[in-house]
């Protein structure tokens, strides 16, 4: 059946992405308005509205629709997840962290607004993500919204993004970083928020416990997949192609999948993760699961 859908596409991923990215961008544009003090809000908008791929919001909406919910139910959560993603990028790029000058093809937030404003803009996006979910999610029982808030919170802190970043920082210069250690970093630094995106969508859409857990596993696989592909791209692509500094893992002598297992084995590993991810969707209606399958394939095959 998979073969058939490839030769005779009933689902156009290109159209889907264009449609969803458009509605996500509109929603993001509308939810952070240019209030006083203007400069903080400008800084928030500068990074949030930069041309991101919106993978996380799309995953959130697709998961919600898969379990029977609608785009509008998932949209505040989808935007919140993108705010958290943006916030973590702003803080990660700071001179005291990864010290990056370029992000999504533009100067990083602190390069434009200064370090102090960049820290505050990140903090403000973090806070606003929670406010936005709590205030703007409509047509859903409050208990589900509360569960979503708890899941989002867990994905950011010491069991999520922050844990990954901490272990990553502490690993710099270590010579004996193994695969397990690398996996810890990526499961937290990258997969945790992808997981939150999918799980929030599934919870808000009214998914059963079993459905939510299947989708959670799906997200973990594609989260790891995302990072393996990122590592491969870092050694095979230029900065211009990536829209961010290429080859910096090599320069920083960072542990990466290509470094630990070689490029070929890394590519095989990526294929396996993609397959494991899609296996989690086998119990769902294949037609309804098409967007998530396509998103997994997109993450596996992306060129930047």
């Amino acid at each position: 059946e998979e073969e058939e859908s490839e030769s005779e596409p009933t689902f156009s991923f290109k159209n889907y992405v264009a449609l969803k990215a458009n509605s996500v961008n509109q929603a993001l544009e509308a939810c952070v308005s240019l209030k006083d003090p203007k400069k903080i809000h400008e800084a928030m908008r500068y990074s949030l509205l930069a041309s991101g791929k919106r993978v996380r919001p799309m995953l959130c909406i697709a998961a919600c629709e898969l379990v029977g919910g609608t785009e509008s139910i998932a949209m505040p959560a989808a935007c919140a997840v993108e705010m958290i993603h943006t916030m973590s990028l702003i803080h990660d790029d700071l001179p005291c962290m990864d010290n990056d000058d370029l992000r999504r093809g533009k100067p990083t937030n602190h390069k434009v607004f200064g370090e102090d404003v960049a820290v505050l803009a990140g903090d403000a996006l973090l806070a606003f993500a929670f406010e936005h979910i709590a205030v703007s999610t409509v047509g859903v029982p409050p208990a589900r919204v509360i569960r979503a808030v708890g899941e989002l919170a867990r994905s950011i802190g010491t069991e999520g993004l922050v844990a990954g970043q901490v272990v990553d920082i502490c690993s710099e210069g270590l010579s004996d970083v193994g695969l397990e250690h690398l996996e810890f970093i990526h499961l937290h630094k990258t997969a945790a928020l992808l997981e939150a995106a999918v799980v929030l969508g599934a919870i808000l859409g009214g998914g059963s416990h079993e459905e939510v857990e299947k989708l959670r596993n799906f997200a973990r696989y594609i989260g790891l997949l995302f990072q393996v592909v990122d590592d491969i791209l870092d050694v095979t692509k230029s900065s211009r192609e990536l829209g961010k500094t290429a080859g910096k893992d090599l320069v920083a002598d960072k542990a990466t999948y290509p470094k630990l297992m070689g490029i070929e084995k890394s590519k095989e590993f990526a294929d396996k993760l993609n397959k494991d991810a899609q296996d989690q969707l086998s119990a769902f209606d294949p037609e309804k699961a098409a967007p998530l399958i396509a998103l997994a394939n997109y993450i596996a095959n992306r060129q930047n």
């Binding site: 003090p37 370090e115 102090d116 709590a134 029982p141 808030v149 950011i156």
Partner: protein, 306 residues
């Protein structure tokens, strides 16, 4: 100097009330942040949240506001802890070299001085969501309906956000000297307001009562800071040491000690006037009155000692 009016606080034993409550809150905070892998970040978080000299004003005010309406203390504890977590997070970030560049806090080295700037940023980034998570996972569902909990989450998020404490910090760094009122309202009033309102929300207070708590909490939050600034300014005058001057804006620094003391008296009166509206709740409003006097009175003890 401050006029010391005889008040309920002379009969009400604030010290016992406060120390008992702080003891309970400290225990809950200690349990809320167990050390696990990666240990370093948990240690950084604990260093600031469990600092011995912390007065725990936000959590105590939250619990007291909840109890004013007959709410169960157990309903308020998770939110009280969350308030302390987000409060600590914002202090950690405020102290950073790129912000106020403060090497010390509460008589101890600032978080980044011990753990490094990168860990300090991440400790703050982790404490904000931990606060929200703690509320969701620890608030007894039989005591607080979900709709109220969502309002509590909204209230805290708004208080720390781009029009609240983050706005205050921004104007503290970039604003004109005459923005000091706005800075103090946002940086300090916001936390007091949020703490009082959250306590009321958890107990199911009516909208007009929440508005009253809002004005009360804001006045008390600013009052604490104005008195702090006066003490700071006096200390600085005594030492005649320019270097002890803080980077941030203060009433006393901008308008002088005399004017700051007038403002403090106005705030004290304003806060108490709001509480007068809670007459029907009888004795249970006493702790909230006592905070107002404590904010000013502690000035005496520190003042006379210097």
């Amino acid at each position: 100097s401050f006029s010391s009016t005889p008040s309920l606080s002379t009969q009400f034993d604030l010290k016992t009330y406060w120390t008992t409550l702080i003891g309970e809150i400290n225990k809950k905070l200690d349990e809320a942040i167990p050390v696990q892998y990666p240990e370093k970040i948990y240690e950084a978080m604990r260093y600031s949240v469990l600092a011995k000299a912390a007065k725990r004003a936000p959590p105590v005010m939250c619990v007291a506001a909840c109890e004013l309406f007959g709410g169960n203390r157990l309903a308020a504890f998770p939110t009280a802890c969350a308030l302390e977590m987000v409060h600590a997070a914002s202090l950690i970030h405020d102290d950073l070299p790129c912000m106020d560049d403060d090497p010390s806090r509460r008589g101890k080295p600032s978080n980044h001085k011990i753990y490094g700037v990168d860990m300090a940023i991440l400790a703050g980034d982790a404490l904000f969501p931990l606060g929200f998570r703690h509320i969701v996972s620890h608030t007894p569902s039989d005591l607080v309906p979900e709709t109220r909990l969502l309002r509590v989450i909204t209230e805290i998020a708004r208080a720390v956000g781009s029009t609240g404490m983050a706005a205050g910090q921004f104007l503290d760094l970039k604003g004109e000297p005459n923005s000091v009122e706005f800075v103090q309202e946002k940086k300090f009033g916001e936390m007091g307001e949020c703490s009082a309102v959250c306590g009321g929300l958890l107990a199911g207070a009516e909208d007009d009562e929440l508005q009253r708590l809002r004005r009360y909490g804001r006045a008390v939050g600013v009052l604490y800071q104005v008195v702090d600034d006066v003490l700071e300014e006096k200390k600085r005058e005594n030492e005649e040491n320019e270097e002890t001057m803080k980077k941030g804006k203060s009433y006393a620094g901008v308008y002088g000690v005399e004017k700051a003391l007038e403002v403090a008296e106005e705030l004290r009166a304003k806060a108490k006037k709001e509480l007068d509206g809670f007459e029907k709740y009888g004795e249970s409003v006493t702790p909230l009155y006592s905070f107002v006097d404590y904010a000013v009175d502690r000035g005496f003890s520190v003042d006379s000692a210097s």
